[in-house]
């Protein structure tokens, strides 16, 4: 059996970044989402939000530079862009929960065809649970964009008819970018593919997905670079 063609993490991040409108206010989570920031065109003036009260963060600080009191949600030291602002955390969460962010980009363990997302716990006995800001982000952001690998490390599908892990949010996911496809979650239709990795067959994509896939009128072929 041949290994199905997959997009690199950087390519997935690049495709995600290309779909963010100029002037958007967005929050970027851990994992592949962190890479998305690298591919945002500065000319689009997309403002990055960090839950600890920062609007307008730039890349990470270099080497020993940076400040203990200026970090992102991954607790990495960072830098600010011109025009940035810092507020108390309750106000930062008002931005998140209150529908002021255009999009949140985050990873997930599982996404269901009704838009449910599970990203904080596998429910395992020895798992230390941690929610952080994820539940506030998914319930409040106008678009909830999941960026992740299509399959879990053990090869099991992460796109499902129904999530089996504890939920982060119910019916909230709008778009999914994976190393195999770009998929929209459409109420009443479920998963609708609008892009598929070059060389990957629809049968192979369906086999990697534990829910029925529909296709948009126009499906883009996603080149490896």
């Amino acid at each position: 059996m041949t290994v199905p063609p997959k997009l690199s993490r950087d390519r997935v991040a690049q495709l995600t970044a290309a779909d963010i409108a100029p002037g958007s206010y967005i929050n970027i989570g851990l994992g592949i989402p962190t890479l998305v920031a690298k591919y945002l065109d500065p000319a689009k003036e997309i403002v990055l939000h960090s839950e600890n009260g920062i609007l307008g963060l730039e890349g990470l600080a270099e080497g020993d530079e940076g400040d203990e009191d200026l970090i992102n949600a991954s607790k990495q030291r960072l830098q600010l862009v011109r025009g940035s602002s810092i507020v108390e955390q309750a106000l930062s969460f008002a931005m998140m929960r209150g529908g002021h962010l255009d999009a949140t980009i985050l990873g997930a363990f599982q996404v269901a065809m009704n838009g449910d997302i599970a990203s904080w716990s596998t429910g395992a006995e020895d798992d230390i649970p941690g929610i952080g800001g994820a539940m506030d982000l998914v319930v409040g952001a106008r678009r909830v964009i999941v960026v992740m690998e299509h399959l879990a490390r053990d090869g099991r599908p992460k796109l499902l008819s129904a999530c089996t892990y504890p939920l982060t949010g119910k019916g909230v996911v709008t778009n999914i970018y994976t190393d195999m496809a770009i998929i929209d979650v459409v109420p009443g239709r479920g998963f609708v593919v609008r892009g598929i990795a070059e060389g990957l067959s629809r049968e192979a994509l369906q086999a990697a997905t534990d829910a029925p896939l529909a296709y948009a009128d126009e499906v883009a072929v996603l080149s490896a670079r």
Binding site: I71, I86, E88, M96, M135
Partner: protein
């Protein structure tokens, strides 16, 4: 004359008793009042309920307080930052209670307590395990969960500058949980880099006014 300045860190934390609930500011290391935590460790109070976003990393600060067995119950949103090994060990051994709260709900519960509000409805956690056992309601087509105010006996907070009235500024994103914790605690104790003469902080630059503050102390006092 109003003078909220405590002469030493030890004096600042002296009123904290066994069994007290203590809010501790900070998001990871950002905004974490290390010197006050060290003073609390030296002070010796135990059987504490600690309310803080994270549960300490490494072996110092909050992690040290936990390792010494001083904390009975941890209330937080994210106790599994990389390096949160002390908490993980205690939790797996069943030696610490955990109340896990979504971060925005934790903040708003503290804000509600400080603002004199009762329970409130939030959409966060609706349809998840967080909502189990709580009143839920559909409003304007959207699901909401009833959450209660979260108050505490004490708050330990990291500020930047203070005056003797307790007016406060913060550094960068070190502001974080400081303002809501100062509101939600009966006794807010704040460490600062410097104490400045009354009137030096421009009124519109005061982030937390002294009305919410009981004690300020220099972090090197």
């Amino acid at each position: 004359m109003i003078n909220k300045i405590a002469p030493t860190l030890r004096d600042a934390v002296a009123p904290i008793t066994d069994g007290a609930s203590v809010m501790i500011s900070g998001f990871g290391d950002s905004g974490l009042p290390r010197e006050l935590i060290d003073a609390l460790i030296a002070h010796g109070a135990g059987d504490l309920t600690v309310i803080s976003n994270n549960a300490g990393t490494g072996e110092t600060g909050l992690a040290r307080l936990l390792a010494l067995g001083r904390v009975r119950r941890m209330v937080c949103s994210y106790p599994k930052s990389s390096g949160s090994v002390v908490f993980a060990e205690l939790y797996r051994a069943g030696r610490i209670e955990l109340e896990l709260i979504p971060q925005g709900t934790m903040l708003e519960r503290m804000r509600a307590a400080g603002a004199g509000l009762g329970p409130f409805f939030t959409p966060t956690g609706y349809g998840t395990s967080v909502a189990e056992g709580k009143e839920q309601r559909i409003y304007d087509g959207k699901g909401f969960v009833l959450e209660e105010p979260l108050a505490a006996d004490f708050a330990l907070v990291k500020g930047y500058h203070a005056d003797r009235w307790g007016n406060l500024t913060y550094r960068l994103a070190g502001r974080g949980f400081g303002p809501v914790m100062c509101m939600a605690a009966k006794t807010a104790i704040v460490q600062v880099d410097d104490i400045v003469p009354l009137g030096l902080i421009p009124p519109e630059s005061v982030v937390t006014p002294g009305i919410f503050i009981s004690r300020v102390v220099r972090k090197d006092a």
